[in-house]
């Protein structure tokens, strides 16, 4: 254990981020920085796609190249950015938030991280041998016929699934066995509830995708016939196995994000979260319901028509727990004393844009409408409002909110606000026109389109380039502030959750003395709730 001993030394230097390190904070930072790198790559691919689509007619990409960029844009963004970046927040925060010294399995934690860079390299290296071009959904039999890069893609996604799975085992075990004295389940911060609900989904859904990928890989490499229709194989089987994971994956990508904003609202409204238990339980409800809705992606597939009705109903019911969360958040900021810091702006932006994604989800669940808009730009707009307007906004909120905790330095508020405005305008400019394009008849994943959609696509492309540019002030802010920003105090936001009751950045093993928890995480506005005292008193005799 020489590595972790080195990490246990105060500081440890930047070199530790490039080693096998078992400190959950180091691993958390490794996750956050690496996945942000993949975010930039995915964004670059998106801008190439949007550039091709700026005007009708073939411009500079042929159909094959276009499909490769599009496929890897989706795969990188989902498997190498949103899912792992949220796991990165989980790694950094869960042990701190529950008052633990580390995760339950520190070495397995390091393994979860170190599976990601090679998997990312495999996915991107496939560009040299003919990258995957069947979309991130990899529908068989198209994904059986495409060049060898598709096999690398499947291997890469399997590795990333394994990483995510090991992380989930670790999170659940940590939350169940490593909570500090007095940290009952009803005192868990809502981000931890979000990670629990997510981990449940990862554990139950990811292995089915892995099994499906095994079948795809076997068809490609060993000549099996699972998806070969002429030999009795069934392409619909892949859709079932794929969506059984990939619809819950949306919740895997959104539940921790909802947890992040649930941390931000109370702190910057100086009010307790409204309906704590309802928010926590709605996360669990979403995760359980989320396992029953997958075939709403297959309404047009020609599956047994009678089966579609229950899937429509369960999909629509998910709007109820989601609504509970949104209304509870609004009630949290209502009558508060709101501070418009950058994290709060992103968290408020989260509600306004996630709402659009959520409402249009009801349109898609309604089968008669889905039969028209399925596989059109309407779906593209919907999923980007959920995952970009929603999850990515929350990720930004989290990055700004915990920046002083992670780096020990303050970021620049002015640049942060510039970033927020550019991001907010860019998101709406990019994705709102896509709804209309889809309704009017533009299919998704096309490298060319009828001239009637030219204006809408030009708007979307301009928005995408604004989004691309909006990352620059963030990167500048993060790098410069990390190196030479003003030093942050331990608890600059006067927050009550445990991660703020220790140094910024926290020392090795997190707490000088393990805390004993005596009150809830959001007890703002009560005389006892002085940060650093009420919630975390040193354990007697520790």
């Amino acid at each position: 254990m020489s590595m972790s001993t080195a990490a246990a030394a105060p500081g440890g230097g930047w070199r530790r981020y490039f080693t096998w390190n078992t400190d959950h904070k180091v691993i958390g930072v490794q996750y956050l920085v690496t996945t942000f790198g993949f975010f930039l790559i995915g964004g670059l691919l998106a801008m190439l796609v949007r550039a091709e689509l700026a005007q009708p007619g073939p411009d500079f990409l042929n159909g094959t190249e276009f499909n490769r960029f599009l496929t890897n844009h989706g795969s990188v963004m989902l498997f190498l950015w949103i899912i792992p970046v949220l796991a990165g927040f989980g790694n950094y925060l869960v042990p701190l938030m529950i008052g633990s010294r580390d995760m339950a399995f520190p070495n397995m934690n390091a393994l979860s991280y170190w599976l990601i860079p090679p998997a990312g390299l495999i996915m991107l290296a496939s560009f040299f041998v003919g990258a995957a071009e069947a979309g991130w959904t990899a529908y068989a039999p198209l994904s059986i016929q495409t060049p060898v890069g598709q096999t690398l893609w499947a291997v890469s996604v399997m590795i990333l699934g394994t990483s995510s799975l090991l992380g989930a085992v670790n999170f659940v075990t940590t939350v169940f066995t490593m909570r500090a004295e007095g940290m009952t389940f009803w005192r868990l911060p809502l981000f931890v509830w979000g990670m629990l609900a997510t981990s449940l989904l990862v554990l139950l859904a990811t292995p089915v995708l892995t099994a499906g990928l095994v079948l795809i890989a076997m068809d490609r490499v060993a000549g099996t016939l699972f998806f070969s229709a002429s030999n009795g194989g069934d392409p619909i089987l892949w859709q079932n196995m794929f969506w059984f994971y990939s619809h819950p994956a949306v919740y895997i990508m959104v539940l921790p994000a909802m947890g992040i904003v649930s941390e931000v609202y109370p702190v910057f409204s100086r009010k307790p979260i409204f309906g704590y238990k309802a928010i926590a339980m709605s996360s669990m409800a979403i995760s359980i319901l989320g396992l029953t809705v997958w075939a709403h992606h297959m309404f047009t597939s020609g599956m047994d028509p009678r089966l579609r009705i229950p899937y429509m109903i369960s999909s629509m019911i998910i709007a109820v727990p989601t609504g509970i969360k949104i209304f509870s958040w609004l009630a949290t900021i209502w009558d508060g004393k709101i501070r418009f810091t950058t994290p709060m702006l992103f968290a408020l932006g989260f509600i306004s844009m996630f709402l659009i994604g959520g409402i249009t989800g009801i349109f898609l669940a309604a089968i008669p409408i889905d039969l028209h808009v399925h596989d059109t730009y309407f779906v593209v707009a919907h999923l980007h409002f959920v995952l970009f307007g929603g999850s990515v906004s929350a990720v930004y909120a989290g990055l700004y909110y915990w920046f002083p905790k992670i780096t020990g330095r303050m970021y620049d508020e002015r640049l942060g606000k510039v970033h927020f405005v550019a991001n907010f305008v860019g998101t709406n400019l990019t994705y709102l026109p896509m709804f209309l394009a889809g309704l009017l008849g533009m299919p998704r994943r096309v490298s060319d389109y009828s001239p009637e959609f030219a204006t809408l696509n030009l708007m979307a492309t301009l928005g995408a380039f604004l989004l691309g540019t909006s990352v620059l002030p963030f990167i500048y802010n993060a790098v410069v502030s990390w190196v030479s920003g003003p030093k942050a105090v331990a608890n600059p936001w006067r927050s009550l959750t445990l991660e703020w009751q220790t140094d910024s950045p926290p020392p090795a093993e997190n707490f000088h003395q393990l805390p004993v928890v005596t009150s809830g995480p959001y007890d703002y506005g009560q005389p006892t709730s002085v940060p650093g005292q009420a919630q975390a008193v040193p354990a007697a005799g520790d």
């Binding site: 139950l204 089987l237 079932n240 196995m241 059984f244 075939a295 047994d304 089966l307």
Partner: protein
Amino acid sequence: MQMDTRLSSKPGAGIRTYLLVFLGLAVITGVEIGLATVGLTRSLRLPIFVVLSLAKASLVAAFYMHLRSDSRFFTAIFITPVILILAVAALFIIA
């Protein structure tokens, strides 16, 4: 690791139990093979063999994996995905 042992299952389940369970498993397997060679009709085969194999799996899980004496939580963790995948498999097959 030292402290962990206090939590693991007590050496309560005796060797006798283990041997009896094995005997049960062996007998059921013998019966299964016997029935398979006899050649039952399809409508009989399905329920009989499903029940027999579930009995075997439950014996192993309850006694060899100590679910009978361990925390109920472990049983819940194991049973939940079994029930889920049964429902899901049925939906995969009829789709």
